[in-house]
């Protein structure tokens, strides 16, 4: 569980069944287990009106566990980018009464939240639960490029190559943590690189 350091640093809860007419779950990798755990206390029939969109991790696990919950639909997708048009379509056609549940890595939660915010769902109205890797999605504040799956501190920008301090300063709008040049005064100064977000 990520600790709260500054106000923009997101904190996540545990998924819980909300009143609603339709339930849309978006999860990646071990995020599936958050849904399975939530199902233990969900009211009977809860999954009849549920759709689960799942991006399996490299191990390909958990699809069967989600299917066992017997939701109205399980949709496995290879990546977040590949399911984006479909997700936008679903939200565009949705009505009030749809509840959103996001679980898995911060990158997945953040990007799904970004789309849902644009569709008019308040971030406080979404259920979130962090599971799995602590890897961060980072925006370089200098070149604005996004680097996915950052696990080290500092980290190198995959676009401009600057060495960046990965801050806890988070942008919901960009769904990314901010990375700021760590050695702007003297680029030859290279601080030790640590595995900070395993």
């Amino acid at each position: 569980m990520a600790a709260k350091t500054i106000i923009s640093r997101p904190i996540y809860g545990a998924l819980s069944a909300q009143p609603g007419k339709h339930h849309l779950f978006i999860a990646d990798a071990e995020g599936a287990l958050a849904i399975v755990d939530m199902a233990k206390t969900a009211p009977p029939g809860f999954f009849d009106g549920a759709e689960i969109v799942f991006i399996p991790g490299p191990d390909g696990k958990h699809v069967a566990a989600l299917e066992a919950l017997k939701p109205a639909k399980v949709h496995a997708a290879p990546s977040f980018a590949s399911l984006l048009p479909r997700l936008k379509q679903t939200l565009t056609n949705a009505h009030m009464g749809l509840r959103l549940y996001l679980s898995g890595t911060e990158g997945l939660i953040g990007q799904a939240m970004q789309v849902a915010l644009e569709a008019g769902i308040d971030h406080t109205s979404m259920q979130t639960e962090h599971r799995g890797s602590l890897a961060r999605r980072m925006q370089c504040v200098h070149c604005k490029g996004i680097t996915e799956n950052v696990t080290t501190q500092p980290a190198t920008c995959s676009h401009c190559g600057l060495l960046l301090l990965v801050r806890d300063h988070y942008s919901r709008r960009l769904a990314a943590f901010q990375g700021v040049c760590i050695n702007a005064e003297d680029r030859s100064e290279i601080p030790p690189v640590e595995e900070a977000f395993p």
């Binding site: 609603g20 009505h95 009464g97 308040d122």
Partner: protein, 321 residues
């Protein structure tokens, strides 16, 4: 005193009967200048100097926020109330100089909404007059469902229909027309916010159905000014100012505190805003909580009271005031 607000010296520029129960009052600044900007849903507290007695009642501003040359309020006459509306109807004439508070908005639009769904009951229509004018000016997406007892008591229904045509839906109690609430709430596009203003029963019904149908609390906005209810008189000790006061049958606790020369903060005087929240030091008796501010837990604890609308019955009450 009203927190963070300055008073406005105004003159009544017009008094217009709207129907058998409702009269509209227009206020302009005495110095002829523009009034402060406000947003749809805002209210002002009107000071009514009625002989010895001063009443302070909140009323929603119903004019367009785009026009601050005047403020307008509509007052429904309540023949069995505490007398504020009767005073307005009987004693307030064009040319009368009055004092009102700066506008305060506890029922504002959430402008991030994709659509605004408004439900009004009776005189609860007034904040929506300003909100619809504000949204129409910005090309906003709204729909208003308005329930009234009869067509002749459908205050401003004609004006609204003329202005906004099919965005306005009317329901008349005497024609047995009822909102199909579940259907209405289930067919709104994602990103809709709900606003409800009307009698307490209506607000509770709408909030309850919206919650059951999966509307997150952040999307449900409501305003209900609880008028202070009369009740048995009681005595209160104000520990900080060292005074013992008597609260009359028709008086609110807040009014009695003010009459004793103590100036607690307030904004809405209707149990909504939380400004006048007061700690209870000791009590022996029963609280009659009428506010929408404190949690149920606070109500049960007997440690806090909202003096604008709540009362007390019993032997003794000591407040930190």
């Amino acid at each position: 005193m009203s927190t963070g607000t300055t008073k406005l010296d105004v003159v009544v520029s017009d008094v217009v009967p709207v129907n058998e129960l409702v009269t509209r009052f227009h206020f302009r600044r005495r110095d002829g200048g523009l009034l402060p900007t406000f947003s749809g849903g805002a209210h002002v507290v009107v000071e009514m100097r009625d002989g010895e007695r001063t009443r302070l009642n909140p009323y929603s501003l119903m004019g367009s926020p785009l026009d601050t040359r005047e403020y307008t309020i509509s007052v429904r006459r309540d023949d069995v109330g505490r007398g504020g509306s009767l005073f307005m109807h009987r004693s307030v004439k064009p040319g009368l100089e009055m004092v009102i508070s700066y506008p305060v908005n506890l029922f504002s639009l959430d402008l991030r909404a994709k659509k605004h769904l408004m439900l009004a009951g009776g005189i609860g229509i007034t904040p929506f007059m300003a909100q619809t004018a504000q949204l129409a000016g910005e090309g906003g997406n709204f729909e208003l469902h308005y329930t009234c007892r009869t067509a002749s008591l459908g205050t401003y229904a004609d004006v609204l229909q003329q202005r906004y045509n099919r965005r306005i839906r009317l329901y008349h109690d005497d024609r047995e027309e009822r909102i199909d609430l579940d259907r209405l709430l289930s067919t709104q596009p994602l990103g809709t916010h709900l606003y409800v203003c009307g009698p307490a029963g209506m607000i509770n019904w709408v909030r309850d159905r919206a919650a059951s149908l999966g509307w997150p609390p952040e999307t449900v906005h409501y305003e209900h000014f609880a008028a202070p209810q009369p009740g048995l008189p009681f005595d209160v000790t104000l520990a900080v100012s060292g005074k013992t006061i008597h609260v009359g049958e028709q008086q609110s606790l807040l009014e009695a505190i003010e009459a004793a020369g103590v100036d607690p903060p307030y904004l809405c005087r209707g149990g909504v805003c939380g400004q006048c929240e007061t700690n209870v030091i000791s009590s022996d008796g029963k609280f009659i909580h009428n506010d929408h501010w404190l949690s149920e837990e606070d109500h049960r604890s007997g440690c806090k009271i909202m003096p604008c609308v709540s009362r007390f019955e019993g032997k003794s009450l000591v407040l930190e005031r």
